[in-house]
Symmetry: C2
Subunit: 223 residues, 2 copies
Amino acid sequence: MSLAIILFSGGIDSTTTAAIAQEKGFSLMLLSFDYGQRHRIELERAARVAEQFSNASHVTFPLDFSGIGGSALTSSIDVPKNRSDYREIPVTYVPGRNLIFLSIAAAFGEVHHAYDLFYGANVLDYSGYPDCRPEFIAALETTLRFGTKAGAEGEEFRIHAPLLQFTKAEIIRTGLRLGIDYRHTHSCYDPGPNGSPCGECDSCLIRRKGFEAAGIQDPANVK
Amino acid sequence: MSLAIILFSGGIDSTTTAAIAQEKGFSLMLLSFDYGQRHRIELERAARVAEQFSNASHVTFPLDFSGIGGSALTSSIDVPKNRSDYREIPVTYVPGRNLIFLSIAAAFGEVHHAYDLFYGANVLDYSGYPDCRPEFIAALETTLRFGTKAGAEGEEFRIHAPLLQFTKAEIIRTGLRLGIDYRHTHSCYDPGPNGSPCGECDSCLIRRKGFEAAGIQDPANVK
């Protein structure tokens, strides 16, 4: 059984991505990042969500982005609420995040001889993040071919983004078909002190629209 | 004055690279990484070496590679001594290191509107590290064009590796011409408890040969 490394926040997208990798026959390294995100609850939830996968390990990598700044997710910039225009790149963009996360995933991959990296990038509901574009994925695969020992020795890193063209409703339906329980998945960028979602950030709005479009009640909201 | 970001270990190569960037008219952000390297003395030395640059800030970014493992520089694997064949990639290779470092440098660059990234890669004396190859640099520039907000907005990241084709002797002569004092630069992968170089690792051997070829006494050895 070949090992895949999954960028794993424990949200809907990365959880569904993990389920897809598992269906393809991979064992899983679920890689979460403690990057000083203001939505710290994400890390606790990721550990709970990870429990539903067999043949999986969950690793949390510490990465202190606070010194870089520039993002509403890691510094004191306010998280925008009730946005309606997703064409502009929002201040919740964390500079270089997916590139840095995938680079670290590739480093784990080199050590564990795991050359299949999965992440939940999505071009439709992606809030305009540039590091969710297919051109980025292709360029990074080339970079890994030339810039790693494994690549120099003939191994081929593959970056899988199986959700790239999915709507949020399709993502949710796919996950449910694969047996995913979304109850503990976390989406909100700006949760309350008890972890409750704000309901107004991009991530909350996209989640709500997704469950509505799928015609399914969000299990996280069932009391 | 435009800002450049320099991957800065405080060794001969990165110090010379910083001097070249300064000569080109850039102000400098000297970016060091506390990545759990066994040669911890490197970080203290980097701060001392950084003092000789004007219009420069020195930033140390914490990055815990110990969970990744797989390298003699960050885990309990022995540092090889007195190697003579540099064609093989050595165990001092840290998986993904330059890719991760440059990705983080690009994140700083996005926040500070600094799109010139410098690092001291070198193909001749590089001990076979794949992330010092020109193909890697070109691929990463493409990745940054597609994968960053700055790139999406039309900014062009440039990765400068001015030492790429230099011999160690040429690097040393260049630095001396630019007024660099190499006294506090650190090279050894496996220093003694007081920070003294082992004299036998790849990095010590390359340094010694470089000063010999340049016909100059290593100022670090002057008592």
